[in-house]
Amino acid sequence: MSRAAHAPSASTKRAGEDDDICPVCKSSRYLNRYMHFLVNPECYHKMCESCVDRIFSHGPAPCPIAGCKKTLRKARFRTQTFEDLKVEREVDIRRRVAKAMNKEETDFETLRDYNDYLEEVEEITWNLILKVDVEQTERRLRRFEEAQKAELNPNAVRRSVDAGPDTSTLSETSHVILKKGGAQRKAQNVPSGNMPIPEDETGFSFRGLKKRKAPEPEKVFDPTSGWSVDPTYYNVKDEYDHKFFAVKHEPRFYAFGYKAPEYYSHALRDAFGGLGVFLEDDRTSEEMDFGTQAAAIAVGGGRDVDMNDVF
C-alpha cells in the first residue's frame, strides 16, 4: 500500500490505478483500456469493475482475495478518493466518529476543556484505526451518539417514550432510548456545575461541558409592555353632580346611545392626562420601546409649557 512514494507516472490516472493489474482476474490495462478499480470499505481490497460485476451481481459474496473472509455487497463498492488506501480507511472512520462526536468550542466552558475533548476524540479515532479495542470503542461510540441525540432533542425522546409501549414489543432501540430518557431526566436534575455523567451511561464523558439549558418558555406577548389604561389618580364615580354634566339628562345627549359613565371617564381622563408623567422618566422609558419620543412627548402634553426645552 505504500505505492505513494514511487516514481512519477507520466500520464495522470485516477487514484490508486498506477499498478495496472487486477489482483483478482489478473487482467491488465493492456487488455482492458478502460479498467476501473473499486474498493469496498469492509476490507479495502481493490478489484476491477468487471470482477465486482461478476462476483457480486447475485447478492453478497465473500471477498475473493485470499485470506480475507469478509462478506461484501456490490452496493458498497466505490471509487477510491485517496491514493493511499490507509488514508481512505482513516477518512471513513473519521467520518463515522465525526458524526457522533460533533461538539463545538462553544459547548465547552474553557478552551482547555475543548482541546482535551479534541484530543480524546482523536484518541478514539486512533483506536479504531489501529484496531485497538474496536468492539468496546464501537459500543461506547454508539451509546454516546444516542445520548447525544437524546440531549439535543429531548422532545423526540419523550415522544418515543410515550409511544414506546404501543410500538409492538420492546425493540432494542427503544429500550436504549428509554434508558437514555432516564439519563436525560437525571441530568436535568443535576444542579449546575461539572458533575460528570457516569461513563457507562453515555459512553464517554468530557470535562468542562457546558450544561445544555432548555430554552425558557416564551411569555405571552404583551403589546403595551405592561401599561394599563386604568386610572391611577382618580376613581370614576357612578354619578357626578356638576353643572358641567348637566347635559346628560337632555335627550340630544343620550339619543345616540351615549352613556353618562363613559362620558365621565372620558372627561376625567382628559383632565388628568399627562399628570405624573415626567420628562426625565420619559427619557429612560425611550429605551423601553413603547413608543417614539414624539409619542412620549405627546403623552406628557399636559406640561407643554416646557416644550421648548424638548426641541
Binding site: 512519477p8 485517496f82 493511499d84 482547555r112
Partner: protein, 792 residues
C-alpha cells in the same frame, strides 16, 4: 561640509551638495519629525544613499532617544555599497567632530556569504550551507556535546558564547569584508555576531526579505523596537517582493517529497518513543498548557518559522487533536494525501481559501483551526525531535506553511491549479499555485509596527500608486529631478521607422516583417553612431529569440557585427555573467559592444551601465507582463475590486516602471551621459507614467520621431557631449557649496516669512512640479483629500 536643516546639524561627507539632495534631506527630516511614512523618488546616481544615511545618522545622534535605522535594500551589491557609504560617512563624522561616536553599523546576509567554517563554506548551495551550519550550531547539539557524546561543533560559533553578549564586536561600521576579517582573526562566527548584535546596533543594513518575508522576519527582526526608522531603498519592486514572500507553489514532486518527509517524521517519532519518550512528553505538556517558552521563540537556530499569524492566535494553545506528535503526523499525512487528490484534476481550477477549506473538511474532516497551527506545530515537533538534516523536510514545511496561510487568510489569496504547463501540453504537470494577490498583507505588519517607513527609489512614478497598492498613508510624497547644468541625457520616443511604418511590439504587429526590419535598422543605426556600449531591452525572452532569428535572416546582425560585438542575456545566470564580463572588456578596450537583454531579466534590475558601458539604451517594445497568466489575471481583478486600480492602469504602470528601470541603467551620475530610446508607438501615450526626471528631459518634439530623425538628434547630442566639460561649470546651479546652500536657505526663509512660495525655488531644489492628477471614474483622488480635510 556641515550645514543645518532647521535645528539639526548635518555632516555631509562631500564638499558640495546637490540641490536635490538637500531637498531630499529636508523632506526626510519632515517625515521623521512628523512620524509617518513617506514615498520619495529621486533619480539614480544623484547620491540618494549618502543623503539618506547622513541625514538619518545626524538625526539619530542629535536626538537622545536614538532611533534605530533599518535600511533594506534589494541585492547583495547594493547592501555592500550602502555599508561602504556608511563607513565613509562615519569616518568623516569622526574627523569633523574630533571624537569617535558610540556607533555600531552592521549588515546581515545569508550564512553562505558569511561562513568561516572550513568545510561548510565550501558548499555551493545556500540551503546546504544553512543546513550544515544548523547541524553544527543547534542548541541540542551543544547539549549532546556536554553530555559527552561525540558530535561535531563549529568552533567559530562556540567562541561567541565566551564573549559578552552585548559586545561581540567593537563599535564602528563593519562591512562584510571587515566582518569576515575580524571573524577570522578572533575566530568568531560573523553571521551569528551580526545576528546577535542586531539589537545593539544603530544601523542595520540587510535585504528586504528579512523584514518582509514573514517566515524570516519572525526570527530575525522580532526584537526591533517600534520607533525604528525603516528605509526601503530601490523599492520600485516592493509589491512583487511582498507577494512572492507569501505565495507558494506546490507540485507533484514536492508533495511526493513531503510524503517522504512525513514518513520520516513518523519513523523518528517511533524511535524517540522507544529511546527518549520523556522529551515528547515534555513537549506535549507544554502544548497542553499553551505555553510558548520565551527562549523558544527567540531561538536563532530554529529553522522553520511561522508565516504571518495574528497575535491572538500566537497566544492560543495548540488544538487538542494535533497535540500528540503521532496525531499531528497523521494529520499532515491526510492533508498531503488530500492535496495529491486535488492534483489529479485535469482542468484549471481557481478557488478561494474558504471554498478550499470547506471541500477539505467534507473530504478529510480537517477543520480550519488545527490547520492554522500546522506550521507552528511542525516547528515545535522538529525542535523536539532534534532533526539536523533539515533540508529533507523543506517540502513538508512548504506544505505546512501553505496550510497555515490558507486557513488564516480568507481574502487576498487565491488557489489556482494548473494541470498543464502550457496550453498546448498534453502531458500533465500539475502545479498548485497559492498566490497572494494583496501586496498589503505582507507589508502591513511593517507599517503597523514602525512609526516611520521610508519608501524610496529612482523610479516610483506614479507616486500615488504605491500607497494605494500597499495600503498606507504618507505624510510626504515627493518626486525629485536631476538638476543639471547641461542636458546629459536624451530621451526619445521613436514611433515609426524610416519608411514611416509605425513600430510596435503589440501582439498583432510584432511579427510583421516591416516592424522587425525597422527595429533592426534602429539597432544598426544606433550601433553605428554610439561610442562604446549599447544596451537593448526586449519585452520577453520569447520575443527576443524570434526577432534575433529573423534579424539573422535579414542580415541585420551581420551589419551590426561590423560595428559592435553582440552579446545576449539568457535565463542562465552563469552564462549571463560571462556575457557581461565580455561586454565590459569589449567596452574597455574601445571596440564597444551591444548587449541584448530582457526588460524583466537580471540585467535590467541589478547591473549598472555607467559611463562608457552604456551610452545608448534602446527599449524595443513596451515591456508588458504576460497578460494571459492566470495569476496575473487574478491579481488584476483583485486590484480592481479592492483598491479601485483599473487593469490597464496597473499593466501600463507595471510596464512603465520596468521601462524606466531599464532607462535608468545608463545614467548613474551627473557627469554621465547617455541616449535613451523608447521604440514603440504606444510609448507616446504613456509619457506621464515615466519618472519626473525623465519626463523633464523629454522634449515634446522628441516624442514622435522616425528612425532617421532620431539618428540625427542623437548625432547632434553626442557632438554636444563631446565638448570638454569640467565639473566647475555646474557650481551654484547643479551642485552647491556651503555658501550657495546658506544663500538658498536664507532665501527660503524670506519666502516663508513673506508667504510667497515661489515655484522657481521648488524647481531650484530639483523638486518636480506637482501635477494635478487626472480624475478617475469615481471623481478623482483629489476628492478624497478634500473630504479628509473636511472631516479632520
Amino acid at each position: 561640509m556641515k550645514f543645518f536643516i532647521d535645528e539639526l546639524p548635518v555632516l555631509f561627507p562631500y564638499p558640495r551638495v546637490y540641490p536635490e539632495q538637500y531637498a531630499y534631506m529636508c523632506d526626510l527630516k519632515r517625515t521623521l519629525d512628523a512620524g509617518g511614512h513617506c514615498v520619495l523618488e529621486m533619480p539614480s546616481g544623484t547620491g540618494k544613499t549618502v543623503s539618506l544615511l547622513s541625514l538619518i545618522v545626524a538625526y539619530q545622534q542629535f536626538h537622545p532617544e536614538n532611533r534605530k535605522l533599518i535600511y533594506c535594500s534589494r541585492t547583495m551589491s547594493e547592501i555592500e555599497k550602502a555599508l561602504a557609504e556608511l563607513k565613509a560617512l562615519m569616518k568623516y563624522r569622526t574627523q569633523e567632530l574630533g571624537y569617535e561616536e558610540e556607533f555600531r553599523g552592521l549588515g546581515l546576509t545569508s550564512r553562505k556569504n558569511l561562513c568561516l567554517h572550513p568545510s561548510v563554506k565550501r558548499e555551493k548551495s545556500g540551503s546546504v550551507v544553512d543546513a550544515r551550519c544548523r547541524s553544527l550550531t543547534a542548541g541540542f547539539v551543544k547539549e549532546k556535546k556536554e553530555r559527552g557524546e561525540d558530535v561535531e561543533l563549529c568552533v567559530y560559533h562556540d567562541n561567541l558564547d565566551l564573549l559578552e553578549p552585548h559586545n561581540l564586536i567593537p563599535p564602528g561600521v563593519w562591512t562584510f569584508d571587515g566582518l569576515l576579517k575580524y571573524g577570522e582573526q578572533q575566530k568568531q562566527c560573523p553571521y551569528f555576531t551580526s545576528r546577535r548584535m542586531m539589537s545593539y546596533c544603530n544601523v542595520i543594513i540587510y535585504s528586504y526579505h528579512y523584514l518582509l518575508d514573514p517566515k524570516i522576519a519572525e526570527r530575525v527582526s522580532k526584537e526591533l523596537s517600534k520607533d525604528c526608522i525603516v528605509v526601503f531603498d530601490e523599492a520600485h519592486n516592493i509589491d512583487n517582493v511582498c507577494i512572492e514572500s507569501l505565495s507558494i507553489d506546490l507540485t507533484e514532486e514536492s508533495l511526493r517529497k513531503a510524503t517522504r518527509g512525513v514518513d520520516n517524521l513518523d519513523r523518528k517519532i517511533k524511535q524517540m518513543k522507544e529511546s527518549d519518550s520523556e522529551k515528547l512528553q515534555n513537549e506535549y505538556a507544554k502544548l497542553v498548557e499553551g505555553l510558548r517558552a520565551a527562549d523558544e521563540a527567540r531561538d536563532e537556530n530554529a529553522f522553520m518559522a511561522n508565516p504571518a499569524l495574528p497575535d491572538d492566535l500566537l497566544k492560543e494553545a495548540v488544538p487538542g487533536n494535533i497535540r500528540r506528535a503521532e496525531h499531528f503526523v497523521a494529520f499532515l499525512k491526510r492533508f498531503v494525501e488530500y492535496l495529491k487528490t486535488r492534483m489529479k484534476v485535469l482542468h484549471v481550477i481557481s478557488e478561494t481559501p474558504p471554498s478550499f477549506l470547506s471541500h477539505l473538511r467534507d473530504l478529510t474532516f480537517i477543520e480550519r483551526k488545527p490547520l492554522r497551527f500546522c506550521a507552528e506545530r511542525l516547528t515545535s515537533l522538529v525542535r523536539t525531535l532534534e532533526l539536523t538534516n533539515i533540508e529533507d523536510y523543506q517540502p513538508l514545511q512548504e506544505v505546512a506553511t501553505f496550510a497555515t496561510l490558507v486557513a488564516t487568510y480568507e481574502t487576498g489569496f487565491l488557489l489556482i491549479l494548473e494541470p498543464f504547463e502550457s496550453a498546448k501540453a498534453t502531458v500533465a504537470n500539475p502545479v498548485l499555485h497559492f498566490t497572494c494577490l494583496d501586496a498589503a498583507i505582507a507589508i502591513k505588519p511593517v507599517f503597523e509596527r514602525f512609526s516611520s517607513v521610508i519608501v524610496t527609489s529612482g523610479t516610483l512614478s506614479p507616486l500615488d500608486m504605491y500607497p494605494r497598492m500597499l495600503n498606507f498613508n504618507t505624510v510626504v510624497q515627493e518626486s525629485f529631478t536631476m538638476t543639471l547644468s547641461r542636458k546629459t541625457f536624451l530621451p526619445m520616443i521613436v514611433d515609426r521607422g524610416s519608411d514611416q511604418v509605425p513600430i510596435s511590439s503589440s501582439f498583432e504587429q510584432r511579427s510583421e516583417m516591416t516592424v522587425m526590419r525597422n527595429f533592426g535598422s534602429l539597432l544598426l543605426e544606433f550601433c553605428k553612431l554610439t561610442p562604446d556600449g549599447v544596451v537593448v531591452f526586449f519585452p520577453s525572452y520569447l520575443y527576443m529569440e524570434s526577432i534575433i532569428s529573423s534579424w539573422q535572416g535579414m542580415g541585420v546582425l551581420d551589419d551590426v557585427w561590423k560595428y559592435k560585438l553582440i552579446l545576449v542575456e539568457t535565463p542562465d545566470a552563469q552564462e549571463t555573467s560571462l556575457a557581461l564580463e565580455t561586454f565590459r572588456t569589449a567596452c574597455n578596450n574601445g571596440r564597444g559592444a551591444v548587449l541584448l537583454c530582457v526588460a524583466r531579466g537580471k540585467v535590467s534590475e541589478g547591473i549598472d551601465f555607467d559611463h562608457h558601458y552604456g551610452r545608448t539604451v534602446i527599449n524595443i517594445g513596451v515591456p508588458y507582463q504576460y497578460t494571459e497568466s492566470r495569476i496575473l489575471k487574478a491579481r488584476l481583478e483583485f486590484l480592481r475590486e479592492t483598491y479601485r486600480i483599473k487593469e490597464n492602469d496597473f499593466l501600463s504602470f507595471d510596464a512603465m516602471r520596468h521601462a524606466a528601470q531599464c532607462l535608468g541603467r545608463v545614467i548613474r551620475g551627473k557627469d554621465d551621459y547617455g541616449i535613451m530610446v523608447l521604440a514603440d508607438r504606444r510609448f507616446g501615450k504613456k509619457i506621464t507614467q515615466l519618472p519626473k526626471w525623465i519626463q523633464m528631459g523629454l522634449d515634446l518634439k522628441n516624442t514622435k520621431l522616425s528612425v532617421d530623425m532620431a539618428v540625427n538628434n542623437a548625432k547632434a547630442f553626442l557632438k554636444q557631449m563631446s565638448v570638454p566639460y569640467t565639473r566647475g561649470e555646474g557650481d551654484g546651479h547643479s551642485s552647491w557649496s556651503l555658501e550657495d546652500l546658506e544663500a538658498h536657505q536664507a532665501k527660503k526663509k524670506q519666502e516663508a516669512i513673506s508667504g510667497t512660495e515661489n515655484p522657481a525655488t521648488r524647481a531650484l531644489e530639483g523638486r518636480a512640479e506637482r501635477v494635478v492628477e487626472a480624475d478617475d471614474e469615481f471623481g478623482g483622488a483629489g476628492m478624497d483629500d478634500v473630504m479628509a480635510g473636511l472631516v479632520g
